[in-house]
Structures are given as structure tokens and as C-alpha cells.
């Protein structure tokens, strides 16, 4: 087996920022005759390349709008890159927001099944594990409660517990622990560590530099869609902190 679990080669992704978006057929027709360019191109990612090794926890940091979430969406195949290519070795499970795309009108148990099925795990395979998932999430009383009645923390716990049972090879986490309490965060980091020992990789996005320094092996610093720096965690986080300080003058004080 190869040592690389993710390799990203010269990936670019552009978005069209519409001044006025055409959302109806009528508007598209009238826009067709009025050919003024009504959008700007935003380079969300510009020529990004990096590799992630097996058993590595890889951090991604950067300011809001730096392209972090776009990169995670490309890694988890939700979007396709415009240029370049991404190769992943094994099953990627993304935790990009609260929940794994949970449906608010369905119960916790039904949502566990739905998400697992979407990740290619059959209903028969996941049903015996449901108790374990609910227990790990600490939601024993709420197994048959609809997700719409869950708090943000509860949704995150359920999502993380489900993701771990689906047995991913690569786990993609986007600032998910911010809503969890400290006890659960500890539990998650323990789970992640044992996960790492099995030779699996974690991509971790956070604004919490302490968490990044303690847990990540290497860190990528994205600035306006470009790779600003990539390397050892302490070094890159230091660079990012200095960068933030020197650029804080640009921001308007309220």
C-alpha cells in the first residue's frame, strides 16, 4: 500500500460572483440579449498542491474566505476542481457542518441509517452498531427524537459518532468541535488518535491555533486561495499569527 493517502496536484477552482444572479428562465432570456458581463470571477483556489501521508493529521488554516471550505469540498468530491486533479486513497468521510447532512424531520436513528447508506454501508451492516453510536454520542434518551429538536452540540456529537462507525480511511473535519463541550472534545481527540494509529488520515480545519499545534503533524496555510506556507505545525501557525497581526491594520475598527 502506498504511503500517500491524498495527493492534490495544481488544483484551481473559480466561482462566478454574480452582481445580479439569474435565477429564473425569464431572467436568463433577458440576460441573453443584454450581454453585459454581470459577474466577477473569484479564484477560490489557485494552483494548490500538497500531499497527505497515511496516519497523519493535516491541519488547514487561513482567514475566512481563504478557500478552506472549498478545498474540503473538493477533497470530499462534493465539487469538482476546474483545473488539476485530486487523488484520494480510500473512503473519505466529510464532517463539513453540523451533522452529516441530517434531515431535520427524521429521527436520530433514521438519520444514522440514511447517512451510512449514502456512504455505502448497507442498512444490515449499520443496524447492530446504532446502539454504540448513540452511546458514544451520549444521546441515549434521544434516539427517537427528530433532529430538528437537537441542539448544535448534540447534532455534532451524533455526526461524529456516526462518521467514526462508518470506518473512513480519511476523515475531513471543518471546525466541528467548536460547538462540543470539553468532555466530548477530549473523547473525540482520543478517537482520532486511535484512528491515526491505524494508519488513517485526518484533515482538520480550525481557527483554534492551540488545538492545531497540539494535534496536527503538518499544517497548510491558505491565503486568498494560494498556498502561503506548508510544513511543521509550530512553524506555520507562528507564521499565520504574525501574518494576522501585520494585516489587522487593514480591518476597520468598529
Amino acid at each position: 500500500m502506498s504511503e500517500i493517502s491524498i495527493s492534490v496536484h495544481n488544483v484551481s477552482k473559480n466561482f462566478k460572483l454574480f452582481h445580479e444572479k439569474h435565477n429564473t428562465i425569464y431572467e436568463s432570456f433577458s440576460g441573453f440579449f443584454n450581454r453585459a458581463k454581470n459577474y466577477e470571477t473569484l479564484k477560490a483556489l489557485d494552483d494548490v498542491s500538497f500531499d497527505v501521508k497515511r496516519g497523519e493529521m493535516f491541519g488547514i488554516i487561513g482567514k475566512n474566505g481563504g478557500g478552506k471550505t472549498t478545498l474540503l469540498r473538493l477533497l470530499s468530491r462534493i465539487m469538482k476542481p476546474d483545473k488539476g486533479h485530486i487523488h484520494t486513497n480510500g473512503k473519505v468521510i466529510p464532517l463539513l457542518a453540523l451533522g452529516l447532512g441530517f434531515h431535520p424531520e427524521l429521527t436520530a436513528t433514521t438519520n444514522i441509517i440514511q447517512s451510512s447508506v449514502l456512504f455505502g454501508i448497507g442498512k444490515k451492516e449499520i443496524t447492530p452498531k446504532i446502539d454504540k453510536i448513540i452511546q458514544f454520542a451520549g444521546l441515549k434518551k434521544f434516539a427517537d427524537t427528530k433532529i430538528k429538536n437537537f441542539s448544535a452540540g448534540m447534532q455534532m456529537r451524533l455526526a461524529f459518532a456516526t462518521a467514526m462507525q462508518v470506518k473512513p480511511d480519511i476523515l475531513v473535519l471543518d471546525e466541528v468541535f467548536a460547538v462540543g463541550d470539553l468532555d466530548f472534545q477530549e473523547k473525540c481527540y482520543d478517537a482520532i488518535m486511535s484512528f491515526k494509529k491505524q494508519g488513517k488520515s485526518i484533515i482538520y480545519v480550525s481557527h483554534n491555533m492551540d488545538a492545531i499545534r497540539t494535534h496536527c503533524d503538518r499544517v497548510l496555510f491558505l491565503n486568498k486561495g494560494k498556498v502561503e506556507s506548508i510544513g511543521e505545525a509550530n512553524k506555520v501557525t507562528k507564521l499565520y499569527e504574525d501574518f494576522s497581526k501585520s494585516h489587522s491594520g487593514e480591518q476597520v475598527n468598529i
Binding site: 428562465i25 463539513l96 447532512g101 434531515h103 427524521l106 441509517i113 440514511q114 448497507g122
Partner: protein
């Protein structure tokens, strides 16, 4: 065609799961919920029966059966395309968080509608017993008509589901199409009651041909004409092919459009 069937087979778990959760969400997991959705066509049946058998004195043999068969067939078309229309838009959060093939929601919507169709056909059976109507042996071929219809409906539902993400007025346009289709299709009248020049135009509508086939098999005990069968198969394949290629083209950037 083979590609679609192959794709559907690989994704059967997801499709069934979505179809079941669709029905659960729509009817809030209650038995009464499904009963309400069945009451709607029955009420419509009552109204149409009253209007056309007593007021306009239409002389169609076995009019209640004729009417109910038409309503059920039309409902299948209406339900599945309407379910599919909102299937991707309703799963906005799922689409931006997990990768899955974009064809699943629309196909599951058609499957949910098929489950409703089977329940409604059961009601038709009950009506036949109550009215003491013995259908001809050709009724055994009726499932083939609905299978062909399902293929055609999938061909319409796939592009509708992505078009509705891109253009939000598709929903309203389709509402008008469904309204018009109800009157253009021979649900509460016999097709040959229409003036000939209108017949010549409307006969090209695939729903008209499919319902005509259902009438032949359920009520007249005759086989549909060769022309009807060949035309229906031809149209089904065309709609499926064109619909799938529109869908394929549009689905690639759908997450960015949300």
C-alpha cells in the same frame, strides 16, 4: 439506457432509503397521512362523476372505473414529477455536505410515487368488486403499461429536478403544464369525443397514448393498436434519452448553483 439501469442497480440501497424517508417525511409517519393523500383523488372522482354523468350525461360504459383508472394514471404522472421537482432543492444541506449521485433523489421520488400508485390500484380493485365489474383477462398486461410509464416519467423527472435548482420558476411552469395535461388527456371523456383536428394533434402526447393503452387493457379487453404500442415505446426511449442527457449536462455544477 443500460447505463441508467446499471447505475440504478448499484445505488438501489440509497434509492430505497430515500423513497422510504420521502414517504415518512411527507406523511409524518402517520397512517392517517397516507389516507388523506388517497382521499384527494377519491373526492375528485366524486366531483367529476357527478358533473359528467348527471350534468353532461356522458355515455361511457363503466364510467366510474374509466374515470378512476384515468385519475390514478394521471396522479402517477403528477405525483412523481412533482415529488422529483423539489427533490434536489429540498436536499440542499445534504448536497453541500456529502457526495452522492445527483440522480438518486429524482429516481427515489418516482419510486415513492410508484408505491402510491400500487395503493391506488388496490383501491381500483376494491371499486371493481363493489361495482361487480369483472375485468377482461388483458388487465394482466396493465403493469407493463405502468412500467413503460415509469421509464418515461424518470426521463422527465431527472432534468426537472436539476432545472428547478438552476431556474426557480420551473416549478410554476410545471404546475401549469400539469393543469393543462389533466384536460388534454382523456381522463373524464373519451378521446373520440374530441373534434378530429384536435385528436390529430393531441394523439402525439405520450400520456394520451399510455392512458389509451390502459383503457384497452382494463375496459375493452382488446390489445392497443400496433401504432399506439410502437409510438409509445419510441416516445419513452426518446424522452428517457433526451432527459438523461440534459440531466447529465446540468448536474455537474449543481452544487455551485445552490
Amino acid at each position: 439506457m443500460r447505463q441508467i439501469i446499471h447505475e440504478m442497480w448499484n445505488m438501489r440501497n440509497m434509492i430505497f432509503n430515500f423513497a422510504i424517508s420521502d414517504i415518512k417525511i411527507r406523511y409524518k409517519s402517520s397512517v392517517l397521512g397516507i389516507i388523506w393523500s388517497l382521499l384527494e383523488p377519491l373526492l375528485l372522482l366524486g366531483v367529476l362523476f357527478f358533473v359528467f354523468s348527471t350534468l353532461f350525461k356522458f355515455e361511457i360504459p363503466n364510467f366510474p372505473i374509466y374515470l378512476l383508472l384515468g385519475l390514478i394514471t394521471w396522479n402517477f404522472f403528477k405525483n412523481s414529477t412533482n415529488f422529483a421537482l423539489s427533490s434536489l432543492v429540498n436536499r440542499k444541506s445534504l448536497l453541500t455536505q456529502i457526495y452522492f449521485p445527483k440522480s438518486i433523489p429524482a429516481i427515489s421520488a418516482c419510486l415513492s410515487a410508484s408505491i402510491m400508485l400500487i395503493i391506488e390500484l388496490g383501491i381500483l380493485g376494491v371499486f371493481m368488486i363493489i361495482l361487480g365489474y369483472t375485468p377482461p383477462i388483458t388487465i394482466l398486461l396493465l403493469p407493463l403499461v405502468f412500467l413503460m410509464m415509469l421509464a418515461m416519467i424518470i426521463g422527465i423527472s431527472l432534468p426537472l429536478s436539476v432545472l428547478n435548482v438552476k431556474y426557480r420558476d420551473v416549478e410554476f411552469i410545471w404546475g401549469v403544464v400539469i393543469q393543462a395535461g389533466f384536460f388534454v388527456t382523456p381522463i373524464f371523456y373519451r378521446f373520440d369525443m374530441l373534434p378530429e383536428y384536435i385528436q390529430n394533434i393531441f394523439q402525439f402526447l405520450p400520456t394520451v397514448q399510455l392512458l389509451t393503452m390502459a383503457h384497452h387493457l382494463t375496459l375493452y379487453g382488446t390489445f392497443p393498436s400496433d401504432n399506439t404500442i410502437i409510438y409509445s415505446i419510441f416516445m419513452t426511449l426518446i424522452i428517457l434519452g433526451v432527459g438523461y442527457s440534459i440531466f447529465r449536462k446540468l448536474q455537474a455544477r449543481i452544487v455551485e448553483e445552490l
